[in-house]
Amino acid sequence: MIEVENLTKWYGPVCAVDNISFRVEKGMIVGFIGPNGAGKSTTMKILTCYMPATSGRATVAGHDVLSDSMNVRRNIGYMPESVPLYPEMRVRELLMFRAALRDIPRRQRRAAVDRVAERCWLSKPEDMMRRRVGELSRGYRQRVGLAEVLLHNPPVLVLDEPTIGLDPAQIRAMRELIRDLGAEHTVILSSHILAQVEQTCNHLIIIASGRIAAAGAPAELRQRVVGPSRIIAELRGAEEATLVETIKALPGVRDVQPSTSDGWTRLVVGGDPQVDLRAEVSALAAARGWQLRELRREVGSLEDFFVQITYEQNVRWMERMTKSA
């Protein structure tokens, strides 16, 4: 549905997007995540034909963003980050105006507006559609913005920070709505908060300093978390030193950190990457007659991965800057 090849964008001397390539297939919900200023919005602005790339190619639904921009625009619904709306217009008026710009035939406009109002919970308070946009709360403005992009039922939705500025209940509602939309539309959304995208998207692209740091399904990315695996076990039935000695003797164990309180010894066992020591530990406890009250494996969260990768990219970027200076 979307193909991006070697896209680069310079703002004067600043490189915002540095040679990125990716593909988005039909029906995917793709999350762009990265720290602020990573190049997420810039990539979206290029995809939606707001600005051209310095070099590289991008196609949306088979149309080139540069040479066939009108057809790209017809196939995309784009909600910019700040959700800009005309404050003096009424909600229905604004949606009718957008419908006219979106080539919806005059007779179908009213029905289209009613349909998206229903979908984005704008029809609930009776007078909502008659209210002035400038008087709406942030949450409602966001809904109007989303309603706008759904008007012409585009195959591709590009949403820049759709949950920013919303309260937790609204964030959850927005997330559910986006997940529903994924059934009919290909969605690209951006965020700098990983937890929000992790649950909504079925494909993540992590961007840092204009480059793709990692991409893949959330589960796949989680698997790629580097660093030693850890097991936490709470045992009773032997001296702390004996427990540590015995566990340390297991193959694949790197280090053991014990701590004892009211008779139970809590062991944090660090092992080699991709090694699961739980079976060995429980077998050992059974053989020695130790009591085992907790045994779990701690997997690095995607959040750790995200922070680590962004950190690394930032360090690399700083190095580049100092080298060129």
Binding site: C49, M51, R73, Y78, Y86, E88, M89, R102
Partner: protein, 238 residues
């Protein structure tokens, strides 16, 4: 075409929401009304709107940029330009739509001055032919002025800057050229005479239908609309 009209309709409706438009409209009608009652509507005077048209043409140098200043500037400042320029609408349709919207509001303002003509008809016999060419002149002049103001508005996100730039450009053609005609040396005064907007307008207010004026104002309108489209397009590249 229907998208151009949709943009135009939105702009026109926007003027009726905007306090600035009411203030500008009120001041324009006040100024032209004062001029009318103290300079023209006097027993024994000629029953003609000619001096009024001239005064209105000068007022418009300051009034039209105030009407056009928000057209594009406000969209750039608030970011709505982004949704507009990612809609399947050409930049030319946006510019022409906005121009038609403000032109419609300008015609509404101008229609307010017909009262003066009606009052005059009650007490005398104004020449309706002269009034008709006068109004035609006002429409042509207004179209050119508004396109200049629209162009100024595409240059900056600040409305005030747009208004000042617009007034400055208009002052060059409406005021400075007259000074040049009277004072400049041999080749320059001839050139200034060709660019003197007020001279072309005076023909219309006298009751003359001069195609030179029509061509001048329509060319100026077309030129500044074209420049507006180009500056709007260039935003993508900057």
């Amino acid at each position: 075409m229907h998208k151009t009209l949709a943009v135009a309709r939105r702009e026109l409706a926007g003027y009726f929401y905007s306090p600035v438009a009411y203030v500008v409209g009120a001041l324009f009608l006040l100024a032209s009304g004062l001029w009318f009652f103290y300079r023209i509507f006097i027993p024994g005077n000629e029953a003609s709107l000619r001096p009024l048209f001239e005064a209105m043409a000068y007022i418009m140098v300051f009034a039209t940029p105030l009407l056009t200043m928000r057209l594009v500037s406000d969209e750039i400042r608030s970011g709505t330009i982004e949704t507009l320029m990612t809609s399947p609408v050409t930049d030319a349709a946006v510019v022409v739509g906005k121009f038609l919207g403000v032109l419609a509001f300008y015609l509404v303002l101008l229609a307010g001055t017909v009262v003066f003509l009606a009052l005059m008809a009650v007490y005398g016999q104004p020449d309706l032919g002269v009034a008709a060419t006068g109004y035609l002149g006002m429409v042509l002049l207004g179209a050119a002025y508004l396109s200049v103001g629209l162009f100024a508005s595409t240059l900056t996100p600040h409305q005030l800057v747009a208004a000042i730039v617009g007034t400055a450009i208009l002052a060059i053609f409406a005021i400075m050229m007259q000074v040049l005609v009277a004072n400049a040396g041999e080749p320059w005064n001839y050139l200034a005479a060709k660019l003197n907007a007020m001279a072309y307008f005076r023909d219309f207010s006298c009751g003359m239908f001069d195609t030179r004026g029509v061509v001048f104002f329509l060319t100026a309108t077309g030129l500044f609309l074209f420049l507006s489209v180009k500056t709007l397009e260039s935003r993508r590249w900057r």
